[in-house]
């Protein structure tokens, strides 16, 4: 097969259900564990691409898994015990291709450089502000839902002025008999809990808002 044919074949390849099953099986023979592992690698790769400065990491993760699945179809083998190095290698190829394509795009737009003086105003939509209010209500609720010790820990962790943050956190860790890293992870889990709670709460309020709006619309239509 020539390089051109190979490239054409790669472009035409799409992830079929069978290829996806093969990918999952390669990650773990047990379907439930394979699904968990797939999700875990997916989550981590997404963050790795983000940390590398990619604006659309999910797209690059999709491309990575598609390519791993295609290579498996072509006979490559994945060690279920440690598939990470292989997946990572593919991800880095995908990333390099992405950077090359971005550089070509930048080259193509070089001639279109603007020289005019322009100031753009950045506004925040009303909807976003209202969502902000809703989030604050939910934040209050979610902080109340935390245990008293959890709330105290978060307050103490974030209470220090910038110049004293490190020293205060070290002292707090000592008081609690934890390493600084263990304390940082505890604080992180608590913040994650609060932020997760806010997302759920905003979602619930949003649904309730929609129901009220629908009810009012029906009421108005009924009164006509």
């Amino acid at each position: 097969m020539s390089d051109g044919e190979g490239a054409a074949r790669r472009r035409e390849w799409t992830l079929s259900p069978a290829a996806f099953d093969r990918l999952l099986t390669a990650l773990d023979a047990d379907p439930a564990r394979a699904g968990d592992r797939y999700e875990q690698i997916r989550r981590k790769l997404t963050r790795l691409f983000e940390w590398r400065g990619c604006v659309d990491p999910a797209e690059l993760v999709d491309r990575t898994f598609d390519r791993v699945a295609r290579r498996l179809e072509e006979g490559a083998e994945l060690t279920a015990r440690d598939p990470y190095a292989y997946v990572y290698g593919v991800a880095m190829h995908v990333l390099q291709e992405h950077w090359r394509a971005s550089a070509r795009e930048a080259q193509a737009t070089r001639g279109a450089r603007e020289t005019a003086t322009a100031v753009e105003v950045v506004t925040e939509g009303e909807e976003e502000l209202l969502l902000g209010e809703q989030r604050l209500r939910c934040l209050e609720r979610c902080l109340r839902d935390l245990s008293a010790s959890g709330r105290r820990l978060l307050e103490a962790y974030h209470a220090a002025p910038p110049s004293e943050r490190i020293v205060r956190r070290q002292a707090l860790a000592r008081d609690l008999g934890l390493t600084l890293n263990a304390l940082r992870i505890q604080a992180f889990r608590l913040r994650e809990r609060v932020q997760g709670c806010i997302v759920d709460c905003v979602g619930r309020e949003g649904e309730a808002g929609k129901r009220i709006a629908t009810f009012r619309t029906l009421e108005r239509e009924g009164s006509r």
């Binding site: 790795l48 400065g53 604006v55 450089r113 020289t115 322009a118 950045v122 009303e126 890293n181 992180f188």
Partner: protein, 278 residues
Amino acid sequence: MTGEQQDTERLRTYLLGTLPADERERLEIELLRDDALYEALLALEDEAVHDLAAGGGSADLAPIAARLGSTAEGRRRLAAAHALVGRLEARPPARRWLPALAAAAAVLVLAGLVWFLATRQVRQHGPRRAQEPTIPGAVATPAPSAALATASPAPELVPTPAVAPLGSVVTLALQTGLVRGGSEPARISLRPTTATVRLRLTLPPEVAPGATLRATLLDADGAEVWRSGALHAARRELQLDVAATELPEGDYELALVAEAGEQSQPIAEYSFGVLRER
């Protein structure tokens, strides 16, 4: 330095984008394999986000701020962190419950008063949604707590004195081509409550994605008033947060240079002026 401190330092260097390429690859494979290490990195990043949101963060965190500012999700994350730390900082420590109880009584009285005044104002003028822009060209974006203070008059939304509204953020977007001696630079008007001036810079197209950049802000006399840490251009845009206290009234020029090894090359200049409302 203990093993834990070394690990933390390595993770921090990774987040700042300054870990050498071969070490970075080794670490990234480890992160895929090791859930505990991955969680330690998430925790460190999340802490940096919250420290940035709380203000006064080290200039070293600038690459993280730039990365967050380059995506809508990142900006949402920073706003969420801002709201949380603002609320946490405002809470009195639980052990000092007695003064807190006295304060709560005062708060109730004040809250009732504020509620009464807000209700009267809404009856007279209708609800206000946000701070109004002070000049064309710059919009004050109320920080979440500030939005709370100006929003609906419902009693549960009335801010208590314990929750001091956080300063607002004024965003000014500047495009390439703003050159010295050209047309009148953009002017931005800052209120005493403005905490942060957010500069959104459109980068020249020749800046390669992932390039290392550094920004220096000079006053009209050419004296340096602020300098960023190493920045990484994720897109064609870069966002810089400068504390409003760093910007007295006057004209400024922001010089952006690309760094490669020990060499740096100027790539863009952006001019703007600051007015101060009394």
